[in-house]
Amino acid sequence: MAVTGLLLVLFLIAHMLGNLKIFAGAGSFNHYAHWLRELGTPLLPAGWYLWLQRGVLLAALVAHIWAATVLAVRARAARPVKYAHRKKVRGSYAARTMRWGGVIIGLFVIYHILDLTTGHLNPVGDPTRPQANVVADFAPDRWYVTLFYTLAVVALGFHLRHGAFSAFRSLGQQTPKGERRARNIALVFAVALTAGYLVVPFAVLIGLVR
């Protein structure tokens, strides 16, 4: 979980930084999107790097979901008789929402690819004008898209809050002082990433980006 999660986190950081290019103007954002397709040239033919990255991410995602499923199946088998009276959360709320949070994020990723990668669910859907796609996506009259996006990103924030801490722990973080540090890093990282992802749709919503 930790290793595949960290691979996906690296992508999330790069993806967020790329998104923020929208504040540098439509030209800059579109140029960035085209540059992604040419990344790796002339060493690789155009588009190859992107497909390599997609392959690695897909493998990491499948391994991540597989590991999570194994844990969930084991957890279910480990307690065949449920408690009649159960306190819901005594530890961390983020830790207890990992599985459903993960499902929400997974569904969102499918929608997000159909929306802004392939353009099938986008009102513009023009692959040569990614900035126009984003602006059309988060237009005020399509508030439900922004709402779903926000829910998914907040779920991602919670997922990262526990996931980052848990990854440190799985990879051998072992002292009480280090635990406090790991929890703080995870919290700051989760909040920063959530904010970085949410600032784009809300900037479109209030007309800052058009």
Binding site: A75, A84, S166, R169, S170, Q174, E179
Partner: protein
């Protein structure tokens, strides 16, 4: 105090079991939780009913025998306290209290609130010991131990093996217990010879016993009556990574 108790009653391992409601009157707030159950049982015996079976031994919080899920909390609402050391003053008059056994596949119910915790013994048997010549106790100063290591080892050694960590874990994992038993030995010089075979053996025994996997949810450390910290699981992980990376080919691992 007058209380309504809803207690899990199960005649034996094969019985399906159900929650049964009892009224207990005139409970003193100074009674321990187990003494309150004693009062109930005396009344049940006098009226010819079967008393409620529950585990207990020392009643001073150090043996690890007692273990009850009280209102959804392992060992009840007070932190750092076993059920036997829990006083009725923690509850209010007229309250309804749900009492259930630990719920885990690895801890099958024997009767009522008594569960079989042999799975913990199997984990210990798989490596929770050191190889040392027996005989009279050696001079304490013959093997120097840094104070910080001794303190951390002692913190883990406080584990009484009650099973509250398993009971509270959303995954039904016994990793806090396993980690405590591994840490108390791996931090000390006496535990070094078997350090990396121990962690593999004990984690394998833990998984074979039917416990779930750890997801660092942290519910265990909240209910632990001895306050075993969550970072002991990190020490287990560190040893496990080292054992699988460096010592994979060694005999016994």
């Amino acid at each position: 105090m007058n209380l309504t108790l809803r207690i899990w009653r199960q005649k034996g391992p094969e019985d399906k079991g159900r929650m049964v409601t009892y009224q207990v009157e005139d409970v003193s707030p100074d009674m321990s939780f187990l003494e309150m159950l004693d009062v109930l049982n005396e009344r049940l015996i006098l009226s010819g009913e079967e008393p409620v079976a529950f585990d207990h031994d020392c009643r001073e919080g150090i043996c690890g025998m007692c273990g009850l899920m009280i209102n959804g909390d392992a060992h009840g609402p007070q932190r750092g306290t076993t059920a036997c050391q829990l006083h009725m003053r923690q509850f209010s008059d007229g309250e309804t209290i749900d009492i259930e056994p630990w719920r885990a596949r690895a801890f099958p119910v024997v009767k009522d609130l008594v569960v079989n915790r042999n799975a913990f013994d199997k984990i210990i048997a798989a490596g929770g010991y050191i190889t040392a010549p027996t005989g009279s106790a050696p001079e304490a100063h013959s093997t120097p131990v840094p104070k910080a290591d001794a303190d951390a080892a002692f913190e883990s050694a406080a584990c009484i093996g009650c099973g509250a960590c398993v009971a509270a874990c959303p995954n039904g994992s016994g990793m806090l217990f396993t980690a405590a038993k591994i840490t108390q030995l791996s931090l000390l010089p006496q535990g070094q010879p078997e350090r990396y075979t121990r962690v593999i053996g004990m984690v394998d025994a833990h998984d074979e016993a039917g416990f779930g996997g750890c997801t660092n949810a942290g519910e265990c450390t909240v209910v632990c009556p001895k306050g075993i910290p969550l970072n002991t699981i990190g020490r287990l992980n560190r040893d496990y990574l080292a054992a699988t990376a460096k010592n994979g080919g060694k005999p016994g691992s």
